[in-house]
Amino acid sequence: MSLFDDVQQFVREANRVTEFDELSRLLDGTIREFGFDYFALVHHSSVYKKRQALLSLHDFPDSWENIFRDRGYFFDDPVLVACEKYATPFVWTDVPQLVSLTPRQREVLDAATEAGLGGGYTIPIHIPGEGTAVCTFSTRIGRELPKATFPAAQYVGCFAFEAARRVASRKAPASLGLPREQTPPRLTRRQLDCVVLAGRGKSDRDVAQILGISDQTVHHHIEEAKRRYDVATRMQLVVRVLFDNHVVFADLLDRGIP
């Protein structure tokens, strides 16, 4: 089968899937044909600003997923930064030219290598009004990226993302592909405000000043949010809130008061 036959078949089958795991299996099969080992399809859309269906599908090894989450790498993933800035696909070895890397961002790239990820081909997906989505196909260490398949892979990524959006929009907005019983804890607007500002490194006093409330009220909001999330530290709270898609990475960069 030619590359195009693979793409055509993928599109036809993706149009018929109704569940995330069906889509994952289909995508995994197709990209393996191309010579990739792993895929990730991520769309973190901020419910902080407005509610949107959310997406996080991948088949990375558990070890990498755990490291990524436990170390809070989402904040510092330079691949995500590059996606927000650029519209054309890139490979991970290009990232240092696209983003001037902080030591922490470099750490994320190095940790991926240590976890066995060799190279990656990342497709930024920008849909007006819906923020930035990311589709990455990567290889294990020691395997070359199949460059000849990149144009076909870009098509597969875009069609896969659209199929995932379609599946997500049929489910409850907050489900993220999880069973409905596992919807994330709700936070009030004020609690979210405090978490975002704390996530930007502001002290309780700074947050109080910015929001025009007292230090004690800020402390109370954050403690309540921690209680709802059942976590012990602020860092854990910010990471969880981020992964539950209440806010996105960009909200935590100091781009002015939301």
Binding site: F4, H126, P128, G129, P151, C158, E162
Partner: protein
């Protein structure tokens, strides 16, 4: 509302068509830097803007202002995909009485205009036109960067080939399938319940 302009009624729309070509020049040449011909330094017109072309043009109620437009060409005649980009189709250029090509989707670049509702109207008009005139498939050529936005419309799209480089950008050909459920889906998404096409003085399509 969206008017249907053909060779039979275009004499009534000369100023509107002029505006359309001016706006196309601003959008495609000045902003997007496409390497396409410009006439008189102000109008974007190419070899496919002929009597065979049909234009769906969104206007204000007085029909004095071009708000947006799409150009349609029958696949059975000279068209962009068949003449210029056949290599984007792995299995041959789709040709048939029920297959038309869509090109030059453009919304007026004025700062007082919000392009999104106009684009929505043009897409619904495209669908209504297709259903009325027995068109089952619209083909198009698109930069791959626009693919996700195109797919996000929610209609059924199929790739016709793997994207190829054209003047430094990756470009691909797609086929969009039109059916009554496509129109239903679009109307639901745009929260619209009425037709947008104005057909009062349209003669038969080419």
């Amino acid at each position: 509302m969206v008017d249907v302009i053909t060779s039979n009624n275009r004499y009534k729309y000369a100023p509107l068509l002029d505006q359309m070509h001016r706006d196309r020049k601003t959008v495609f040449v000045d902003r997007l830097k496409w390497d396409i011909p410009v006439v008189d330094g102000q109008f974007e017109i190419d070899q496919f803007d002929t009597n065979a072309a049909i234009y769906l043009v969104a206007t204000d109620p007085k029909r004095q202002r071009h708000l947006g437009s799409i150009r349609l060409m029958p696949s059975t005649g000279s068209h962009l995909l068949g003449d210029v980009f056949p290599h984007l189709c792995e299995k041959g250029v789709p040709v048939g009485d029920d297959i038309w090509e869509v090109t030059r989707l453009c919304t007026a670049p004025a700062p007082d205009i919000d392009p999104r509702p106009i684009r929505g109207k043009l897409l619904m008009a495209l669908c209504e036109f297709g259903l009325l005139y027995g068109i089952t498939t619209f083909t198009c050529v698109t930069h791959v960067q626009m693919l996700s936005t195109l797919l996000a419309v929610g209609w059924e799209c199929e790739p016709l080939g793997v994207p190829q480089p054209v003047a430094g950008d990756m470009v691909g050909a797609l086929a969009i399938k039109i059916s009554p459920s496509t129109l239903q889906m679009l109307r639901q998404r745009m929260a619209s319940r009425v037709p947008v096409l104005q057909l009062s003085d349209v003669a038969e399509a080419a």
